[in-house]
Amino acid sequence: MPRETISIPQKLESLSVLAPDGKLDTDLEPHIPDDDLRRLYRCMLTARRLDERCLMLQRQGRIGTFGPSKGQEATPLGVAYTLNPDDWHVPTFRETAGQLWRGWPIDTMMLFWGGHEAGNAVPGNVNDLPTAVPIASQCQYAMGISWGLKLKGNQQVCAVYCGDGGTSEGDFHEALNLAGVQNLPLIMVVQNNHWAISIPRSAQTRSQTIAQKAVAYGIDGVQVDGNDILAVIVALREAIEKARTGGGPTLIEAVTYRLSMHTTADDPKKYRTDEEVSEWEPRDPLPRFQRYLQRKKLLDEQLEQELDAEIKAELDEAVRKYEAYKFDPTDFFNHMYAELTPELREQMQELRAYLGQIQSAD
């Protein structure tokens, strides 16, 4: 027969557990201890308040350009919650909630947006990579990390993020391809927030879904409601279990929405309508999760007030620490190589001498 249909033995599912209207699929509802639910909510709320605080600090000129994560807290938080501390967490730059869960101090994160390398100081007890700025290139080193984990055979996994825009980059495809070929314990989470600065998801790819790109690499793909933390946790638990037991990589498309700007350097009104944004507001992950906890009687008005006050105090303290940060202006020479080269030593001395001169002239 000259033409035959090729059957590809891969299924593609879409998953949601807690609908925007509060409807819960109790069959799919993941078991999460009450205390964890409270801590998750507190973390999600902290991420939102941190976002708001950073926007304010940026407007006041107290930090540099800032990229808000508003509306995208559920996905990284669900991912980080599901990983073990010794698993690897490889963010791009809108995973604040996940980083907070992994133990990144708030003042450290402010240092990053404040223009200090010290903002990338990874907490000692977790295998985290810092913020990655160039689009999708982190997929490659995350793939390499998962390769190392497989070679060591220690059942750790690596989760990495990129955005819908990042799926147009070669690195995304090369990493997924190699992860498939080598059957690596890699979980690739695409935060499809529908906008790569001004370019809509529809202009990135003609594919109906991003999850289906997994099919091309012979690996599993799943689409989840990325604003539904319960769905994210379900998808991650499955992907992580599979990766730990030698089942290879998974591509997870988390469908979400960037409710705010790309960064403080752009104005979304230039490229998208207010109507579109207001369509997404009812799907905001934070109130959705809040109502879930309220229904479980894990949250009441008094507790919410206490939480608000605690988070505000935490943020105030972080801002104080961030703004008190002192640094040696010539320290940037020190981490280029394991040892300073003769040329760098000379340049550092040259700069120190100049800085000393202008200081004494003052």
């Binding site: 490659q140 390769w147 070679l151 690195d171 981490h335 280029m336 190589y337 080269t341």
Partner: protein, 326 residues
Amino acid sequence: MAQLTMVKALNLALTELMHADSRVLVLGQDVGQDEGVFRVTEGLLQTFGPDRCIDTPLAEAAIVGAGIGLSFTGYLPVCELQFDGFSFQAFHQTENHARRFRNRTRGRYTCPMVIRMPYGGGIRAIEHHSEAPEATYAHLAGLKVVIPSGPRNARALLRSAILDPDPVIFFEPKAAYRAFREEVPDEPETMPIGKGVVAREGRDVTLITYGALVRPTLEAAEELADEHEVDAEVLDMLSVSPLDGELINASVQKTGRAVVVHESPRHCGVGAEIVARIVEKSLLYLEAPVKRVTGFDTIIPYFANELTYIPSAGRVVQATLETMKF
């Protein structure tokens, strides 16, 4: 002692270290079954198996990116890129990540990896197989850039590069791969990265070069001695980043004259940096302007005409004589 070509000497360095240190992995396209397009990885798959000598998909950025991630998990990856002309397919991984992680994370994550690639022209290959991009890489702080010139220093420097705590770009001059053999000692050797050597001592002029051009420069020095009574000192830099400025200036202060020889383009080439170092530290010792004998500021001609472009012993002799007569 064995008489080895550079290809065999590099293979020896890899084999020795893979035996001695299970963290060392080799990855790249065709490094396994095919044993590398130049056979540098001969026998590694057979000896160490597919988990340590890994044939990857054809994706340079994935090879380098995977190397970065592997180094985070405690391995010492040696990435092979098939030709330097294709290294630009991985340039963003090298520039954006490999060279920056130590600084980015204040030393928490480093990239103790080697990116090996055949370098330079002179083997009659098609376009993209004859470039000499060392200046491009030497400009990137955080990388070390090493270019051996012969079998013995290639073997020692590759060992040093793999054991180095920082990412090393290791350029292997294609024209020197099989051109000659050298005695290579039985015991493993290392050589310090960032240090050059005096390949020939002399009093009258310093010829500064590296890579495949060390041999024609030495030939030029012999011709200068035999036919022109000029006693040239030849420096083999071995590393272009860090660059051994001390060696250069000590020699130039002795001879008072210098000629820089490299096959890559002149504009913003390593030669320009060498001349600047001489001007900064040895201006008052100079008897003549420093000359550069280099590739031209063009794309290297296709191979039928590549030898017009790559500096020859004759061009070095002529430039040196002009320097002597100044």
